[in-house]
Amino acid sequence: MVMKKKENNKKHDSNWVLLNKKRKVLYSSDSVADVFQKGQEYPYGKVIIEQRFKPGTCFF
């Protein structure tokens, strides 16, 4: 019997993400600098950067 490998849901659980136009995560990291740096590898406008706030996060 072949065990199905579970998908790692935490794969893109990082704080900062690089998304394509279809909002697919291309890269993620807890380092804002890493994500901005990775974004420079793509033509301008082909990707966007977002910060993932955990639900319930409060800012004061």
Binding site: L18, L19, S31, V32, A33, F36, Q37, G39, Q40, Y42, Y44, G45, V47, I48, I49, E50, Q51, F53, P55, T57, F59, F60
Partner: protein, 140 residues
């Protein structure tokens, strides 16, 4: 500091986050622009645009000591000043800002868009119940 002609913006944001979010694009010291940051926090409680030091370093910004201390909700913290170029907006509608002094903090949880210069240049209406924020250029 200078800016291109101001435009009216009507931004909607994801209700999961509960805070008003706006799109902004920074420029490296060498003039290269970054990709669009889709969700900087519009923060009337912050005096200036504030970014994490790691981002300032990546952009090659020159950091200068601040003449005044920085108080946050977490207490007094160390911060620097830098000068940056950025654009506000997305989808071909941009306002370009040049030579804007910003605050750089090591412990900065997000990119914060504060009073200077956005709230000085715009009348900002936040409609939290509709997850919208409207930026109306102030009349000169």
């Amino acid at each position: 500091m200078s800016h291109s002609p101001l435009l009216k913006f009507n931004f909607t944001y994801d209700d999961r986050f509960g805070v008003p979010l706006i799109p902004i694009t920074f420029f490296h010291k060498n003039g290269t622009r970054t990709q669009l940051l889709n969700n900087a926090i519009l923060d009337s409680g912050a005096y200036e645009i504030t970014i994490p030091k790691a981002l300032a370093d990546m952009l090659g910004l020159e950091l200068r000591p601040r003449s005044n201390p920085v108080h946050t909700a977490g207490g007094l913290i160390e911060a620097c000043t830098a000068t940056i170029d950025f654009t506000l907006g997305r989808g071909g509608r941009f306002v370009q800002y040049t030579n804007v002094d910003i605050c750089v903090m090591k412990q900065c949880p997000a990119v914060l868009i504060g009073i200077h210069p956005i709230f000085e240049d715009y009348t900002v209406t936040i409609m939290a119940h509709q997850q919208k924020c409207i930026l109306e250029p102030k009349e000169k």
